[in-house]
């Protein structure tokens, strides 16, 4: 067995689902190969870390009143999956999870937009000739989302301003950096959309970026004080 064979079997080995013969071969290779031993240790550490994550995370808000309302207005809830979801912009939460969890997405948006912009400098890139109906629906949704986003953003930033002294410098640094990254991404997408109003993908990307930023600010507003 070589290192590549081992990598292909490592998950099953760690999970205990490998056949006895393969198990023996893997064990033998691990005895003689330090780098595969290190890989094994890292997979085990990762799986152990995942298994130790808390099983329960309470939501930031009491969801019961909304659930009751939906149960009691049961006819309305039918076909709900077909309806457009409106994010709960107005809510301000206390979810003590990672403030930066969603920054990943926004920095990707930035990368993506830069890449798309570079690729779309020609007069007619692929996929730009969308139907008028699709564009209208997407644009409508976008304009609604933009209004909610701007209001929620202002409100949350004001909340955070009052909390600055209670958050650790490290948290504040991450937070400020993330706000900047998302703002940049949003601005780039707004610019791109102004230049290319028929673009089919930008509205949904923008709405997602709005949602990510509000989400992050909500989390940050609910972070526990340093300690």
């Amino acid at each position: 067995m070589n290192c590549r064979d081992l990598v292909a079997r490592l998950d099953d080995f760690v999970d205990g689902t490998l056949s006895a013969a393969d198990r023996g071969a893997v064990a033998l290779h691990l005895e003689i190969c330090p780098s595969c031993r290190e890989a094994e240790a890292r997979v085990r550490a990762l799986a152990a870390g995942a298994a130790m994550l808390p099983r329960a995370i309470e939501p930031a808000h009491d969801l019961w009143p909304d659930i009751v309302a939906r149960i009691q207005g049961d006819t309305v809830t039918q076909g709900r999956f077909g309806a457009v979801r409106h994010p709960r912009w107005h809510r301000r939460g206390a979810l003590a999870a990672a403030a930066a969890a969603l920054v990943v997405v926004s920095s990707v948006v930035t990368t993506l937009m830069v890449a798309r912009r570079d690729a779309a400098t020609g007069p007619s890139g692929p996929g730009r000739a969308g139907t008028a109906a699709g564009v209208t629906a997407a644009t409508l949704e976008l304009s609604q989302a933009r209004g909610s986003y701007e209001a929620a953003r202002r409100q949350l930033l004001a909340v955070l301003e009052t909390r600055r002294s209670s958050l650790s410098p490290a948290t504040l640094k991450v937070l400020d950096e993330n706000v900047r990254i998302i703002d940049d991404a949003v601005r780039q997408m707004e610019d791109a959309l102004a230049r290319d109003p028929g673009n089919q993908e930008l509205p949904s990307l923008l709405v997602t970026a709005y949602r990510q930023e509000i989400d992050m600010l909500q989390r940050a507003a609910g972070l526990p004080a340093r300690g």
């Binding site: 890292r42 990762l46 995942a50 993506l112 989400d215 909500q218």
Partner: protein, 178 residues
């Protein structure tokens, strides 16, 4: 956090008979489990709250089908996975355009990160995974499901589940060691 089995049976029976107060007590004892799973599988806090609501509305509607062969939390966990996965399928159909999540794939390793704590790093790294790899990782490594059960719920082949787990673990190790 959890009610014992006898209490649970009484509560479920009352809820099945239409007692909303009993259903609320079941909700209170299990909402954290459902919400954690929605949060990790969707990677989005706002969506997770909506999904959590959806799960309990569905649970109320389908309560008659709960026969008590497993713990209520186990039944609810399976329902949660189905709700999360079907919401995602519906959303993809409805949007019929590039979803941001799928565009994450090539960039999953390029994440700037602070280090508030290992568990938070891990949660954040999980949120950054491509959707299917994230689903399989959460179900297998966090929830402790076996591949056969994951395959049954996701409609994927067992081999495909294993490939997603392999990919998820590789991406997570890359992100966490960067």
């Amino acid at each position: 956090m959890s009610t014992n089995r006898d209490d649970e049976r009484v509560l479920v029976g009352a809820a099945q008979a239409g007692d909303l107060g009993s259903f609320e007590r079941l909700y209170r004892s299990t909402v954290g489990l459902v919400h954690a799973l929605c949060l990790r599988m969707s990677g989005n806090a706002a969506l997770a709250e909506e999904l959590t609501q959806d799960v309990f509305v569905r649970a109320w509607q389908k309560l008659a089908t709960f026969r008590g062969e497993s713990a209520f939390a186990t039944w609810l966990t399976r329902l949660t996975v189905n709700v999360v996965l079907s919401e995602r399928r519906e959303r993809r159909r409805r949007e019929a355009r590039i979803t941001l999540a799928d565009d994450l794939e090539p960039f999953a390793g390029s994440v700037p990160a602070a280090r508030p704590g290992e568990a938070l790093d891990l949660e954040r790294a999980i949120a950054s995974l491509p959707p299917q790899a994230r689903h399989v990782f959460v179900l297998h490594d966090v929830q402790g499901w076996e591949h056969a059960e994951i395959a049954h719920h996701t409609g994927l082949a067992v081999g495909t589940c294993k490939a997603h787990l392999h990919r998820a673990r590789r991406l997570l190790r890359e992100v966490l060691s960067s």
